[in-house]
């Protein structure tokens, strides 16, 4: 059937109209073969603009439309709905991007107009070959997976469970809790982190809808939105979780006592069998195979003898569990960056140069010093403390170390640390070196001013150039940019506000999830403003610091938002599939398996099928068959196929060739 195409050229106010002669574009495109209607309008995406499109579709019996406007990434969905509302197939719509890729980048109006016409022609050439596509339906597995059991993951899981859906948390450590469990107080209210976190951990642990896979990792992700298949490796902890009561007897009696305690960042030790901290969830012991004598050389077995529940099992092995999920939330969190490259601060030379997270543990009642602030080197009270902000944050790209971004939380926690120190130990001199103090948050600036004004914390605008240990002191040299002078401070303790970076497990996870990441390994959101908790991969959502640095209230807010997106997805029984998928022409297919080899989703299988051949014989042929629910429409198979049997709806070989032809005309 001859196509009847309508062309709609948007002014976008002056965004397009200023550099593109929109009426000339409409006039030129109106002369193209197949076009029966063309006009321009101020805002196509407005209600009036959409109504105009709908009216034209009906009046001129249009079979397809081309909208010359902003990027299809912006309004393709809008105009598809418009078309559908007017009774034509939503996939009979093509967008010519004459804003982002034309009017905004070209200054000369003639040039812009000419290019807009060419882009419009390409869209017309394509739409003439469009075919109506019907989106299929795919069932939804009503269960979510949250990867990471920090406050982000816990909150997301709780909110999803609250809505009545099953949700699993995978946490690589023996307990959930994450970084927040290691914090002492939280800004700006100074309530105790454990006091507000641990009830949530308990809630999660006890919730019937939530299953926690602690000491576990995701090893593979297959499938797609609504139908993910995930393999989880439950690492052997050599303790039967179902039997262990968490009494802690083994963790006290274990003869191996010299294991650096990671929960306290190595500032004290633990036993080879351990529970990370008192409020751990699940409260189950874990045997560290790197230190356990029984596991290393088969001698000891003390814990097994002691355990009344008979929970110890030295023969336990890693276990792979495969589950199906409808949605996945990444909540993999952050870590402070390594201080290896920051020798100027003498972190590796002096025990008394510590990171802020280590400082949290030193201040914490459950920490290595029982909450008394003591220098790690000699257990004496530090009298002069220097806090250095922006260590590794806001570095220039060519510095060769550190991060370009602001880690966002350091200003506030440093103010908190300074304030708490001054409150507990008023005889201590506290200096904070800063580049800028950034406090945009509710009650944040008030908090910072209280530290500086009421608590007498010395805020110095400038950077520390060098810290050198001399005797018991740390010589701190820095500049005071406001007083314009060099400062020399003899400090007892130096605290580095290390930049935070995404957890190292995030990158391989992103690959498994086919979710994209930015150059800093933060997950990319589907839209930076409008879809901040969704990844560009359907069914994968983002929660907490894996998406970017944030503080606890922001994390919790985002966790809730991610949960609501998951709930919004899981409450559907069926999803609409992307109809722009590959399909194979079985008559052309020669069964070579090239397409099967390149398909990242295993969407292509081969079937033996009986064919009635043109010469009236029957033949069994091996042909490719695409599962449209699994295919994501990348098109790798279309090029791998030598016979051209594979093609892609929405981006067919003919359509792309027609675009090429139109552009090169």
């Amino acid at each position: 059937m001859q196509q009847r195409i309508g062309v709609f050229v948007c002014h976008c106010g002056t965004n397009i109209a200023a550099t593109v002669d929109v009426s000339a574009v409409a006039a030129a495109l109106g002369r193209e073969p197949g076009v029966v209607f063309a006009r321009d309008y101020q805002y196509m995406c407005s209600q009036a603009g959409q109504d105009m499109i709908k009216d034209a579709i009906k009046e001129y019996k249009l079979t397809g439309i081309v909208v010359c406007s902003c990027s299809p990434r912006m309004h393709e969905a809008t105009f598809r709905k418009t078309a559908a509302a007017a009774g034509i197939n939503p996939y009979m719509v093509e967008i010519a991007n004459i804003r982002e890729q034309c009017s905004w980048i070209h200054k000369d109006k003639d040039e812009g107009t000419e290019k807009a016409i060419i882009l419009g022609r390409a869209a017309i050439a394509k739409v003439c070959l469009n075919v109506p596509l019907t989106a299929g339906e795919i069932p939804v597995t009503k269960r979510a997976l949250v990867i990471g059991g920090g406050i982000a993951g816990i909150q997301t899981a709780l909110d999803i469970a609250d809505a009545g859906f099953e949700v699993d948390i995978v946490e690589k450590k023996p307990t959930i809790g994450g970084k927040m469990a290691q914090l002492d107080k939280t800004f700006p209210t100074l309530d105790c982190a454990a006091c507000i976190l641990t009830p949530k951990m308990v809630d999660a642990g006890q919730n019937e809808k939530i299953h926690i896979y602690s000491y576990s990792e995701v090893v593979s992700v297959g499938g797609f939105v609504g139908n993910f298949t995930v393999q989880i490796k439950k690492k052997a902890r050599y303790v039967d979780e179902t039997k262990c009561t968490g009494c802690g007897l083994c963790t006290e009696k274990c003869p191996v006592k010299n294991v650096p305690n990671e929960f306290n960042l190595g500032m004290d030790t633990r036993h080879a069998v351990y529970i990370p901290f008192a409020q751990a969830v699940p409260k189950v012991a874990t045997i560290d195979p790197n230190y356990c004598l029984m596991l290393k050389n088969g001698k000891c077995g003390l814990c097994s003898k002691l355990c009344g529940a008979g929970a110890i099992n030295y023969k336990q092995e890693d276990e792979i569990i495969e589950n199906k999920y409808g949605a996945i939330v990444a909540a993999t969190g952050y870590n402070p960056i390594s201080m290896d490259k920051f020798d100027e601060f003498a972190y590796s030379q002096s025990k008394d140069v510590i990171t802020s997270l280590e400082f949290e543990r030193l201040m914490n009642a459950a920490g290595p010093t029982g909450g008394v602030l003591l220098r790690p080197s000699d257990n004496e009270h530090p009298k002069t403390i220097v806090f250095v902000q922006c260590v590794g944050s806001r570095c220039s790209a060519d510095a060769g170390k550190g991060k370009e971004y602001c880690s966002k939380i350091c200003c506030m926690y440093t103010a908190k640390h300074a304030m708490l120190t001054r409150e507990k130990y008023p005889d201590t001199d506290v200096y904070v070196f800063y580049i800028d103090v950034r406090t945009p948050g509710k009650n944040f600036d008030e908090f910072y001013r209280r530290a500086a004004e009421q608590y007498g914390v010395h805020y110095i605008k400038g950077m520390v150039g060098k810290v050198s240990p001399e005797g018991k002191k740390l010589k701190v040299r820095g500049s005071d940019l406001i007083a314009d002078k060099q400062l020399h401070i003899d400090a007892d303790l130096v605290v580095l506000a290390a930049a935070i970076e995404p957890d190292k497990t995030a990158r391989p996870l992103a690959t498994m999830l086919t979710a994209s990441m930015d150059t800093n390994d933060f997950f990319t959101e589907a839209h930076p403003k409008l879809r901040p908790v969704e990844s560009p991969t359907a069914g994968v959502f983002l929660s907490g610091c894996c998406q970017g640095p944030k503080d606890i209230p922001e994390t919790v807010a985002q966790a809730g938002a991610a949960a609501s997106k998951v709930i919004g997805l899981l409450c559907h029984d069926k999803l609409t599939a992307n109809p722009c998928v590959a399909h194979s022409d079985e008559w052309m297919c020669n069964g070579c398996s090239s397409c099967e080899n390149v398909c990242p989703y295993h969407a292509i299988t081969y079937v033996e099928k009986e064919f009635r051949m043109p010469d009236r014989t029957t033949k069994i042929r091996r042909v490719a068959s695409v599962n449209p629910a699994v295919c994501q429409g990348c098109g790798a198979c279309t090029v791998a196929c030598p016979s051209g049997a594979m093609d892609l709806f929405g981006f067919s070989g003919k359509q792309i060739s027609a675009e090429v032809d139109a552009i090169c005309r």
């Binding site: 052309m588 020669n590 070579c592 398996s593 090239s594 080899n597 030598p642 049997a645 003919k654």
Partner: protein
């Protein structure tokens, strides 16, 4: 002179037919002259005795015929395969193009095939007979009673001059023993072209490809070109064409064809053998093989059944196109 005699091959084939292992044999049938040998399906001992030939003009690679032949009946077909043919045989198996169970593969040793075009360049037209005489060929013409004596090595096919393997990659049984994979010089010609300037390369290929008459012989004989319908025959492909209408069409056809068989081409050399215009088409395919070896590690298509072709595979550390292309340029 071929190592194994026609007599020995026929005897073995007759046994196979007699045993009922196979009910037909894909072999070479004699023609009007010594050199015009035709692939043929023999069904009886008498037919073999009468028409089967084995000699210096049995160049045809039968692998591709197996697709059609195995589909005809449930009985096994015996096929004669020279070492280079066995690579095509394996590659077709990798691509699930025929049922291995329906084939009885008889590997025959090969000492290289002669090129009638090269012979005629020496003797001229009018050849009445060619007799194998040790390492020489005695070529008789209607214009002279005495034969022209030609060293077989002087008239060896191009592909045989750079034979990659005398070893059979697949067989059910061997006649005449097996050889070794050879350290061939097959990329020298490619390297020679690479070493030219861009203008010289352009002129060289312009000269070669402009002769193309688009008879499709290269494609139709190619054991890697087994598409149900070639994109060049398919009006929906956007590149269907029947004629080498101009320079662009000539290049398009040969680039795309080489690309489609890249990583799958075993370098059997049939394309160049059958080209009526004697375009060195194998130098296109070999360029891809050379590049694949250089960029992604040595890979010989058809060496092993089930190996993954380089173009449907990748390595995360693969070379970037801009670092890979034209390194040999001056």
């Amino acid at each position: 002179m071929q190592k194994i005699s026609r007599f020995d091959i026929i005897n073995r084939l007759k046994d196979l037919l007699a045993d009922g292992n196979v009910d037909r044999v894909l072999g070479w049938k004699k023609g009007e002259f010594r050199y015009d040998v035709t692939p043929h399906v023999f069904t009886s001992a008498q037919e073999l005795e009468a028409d089967f030939v084995w000699g210096d003009f049995c160049g045809a690679n039968f692998s591709k015929y197996l697709i059609k032949e195995t589909a005809k009946s449930d009985k096994k077909v015996a096929v004669l395969l020279k070492p280079c043919d066995t690579y095509s045989f394996n590659q077709l198996l990798t691509e699930h193009r025929f049922d291995r169970e329906k084939v009885y593969a008889v590997g025959v040793a090969c000492d290289g095939m002669a090129d009638i075009f090269k012979i005629k360049k020496i003797t001229g037209d009018g050849i009445s007979d060619i007799k194998e005489n040790g390492e020489d060929l005695d070529v008789y013409t209607i214009y002279d009673e005495k034969p022209v004596k030609i060293k077989k090595t002087d008239v060896l096919s191009e592909r045989c001059l750079s034979c990659k393997s005398k070893k059979h990659a697949a067989y059910d049984e061997l006649l005449g023993g097996d050889g070794d994979v050879l350290d061939s010089n097959r990329f020298d010609e490619v390297a020679k072209i690479e070493a030219m300037t861009e203008e010289e390369r352009y002129a060289f290929w312009q000269g070669e490809l402009s002769r193309c008459i688009r008879c499709n012989a290269c494609r139709d004989v190619c054991p890697a070109c087994t598409c149900e319908k070639c994109v060049f025959d398919n009006p929906n492909s956007g590149m269907e064409n029947k004629s080498p209408a101009n320079e662009f069409e000539e290049k398009l056809f040969h680039i795309i064809r080489a690309f489609h068989v890249a990583g799958r081409c075993t370098d059997c050399g049939e394309c160049s053998r059958v080209c009526p215009q004697r375009i060195p088409l194998h130098l296109l395919n070999r360029k891809f093989i050379k590049d694949i070896n250089a960029f992604y590690g040595e890979y010989q298509a058809g060496e092993v059944v089930g190996s993954r072709a380089p173009l449907v595979d990748f390595d995360k550390e693969d070379v970037e196109p801009k670092n890979a292309v034209g390194k040999e340029d001056k």
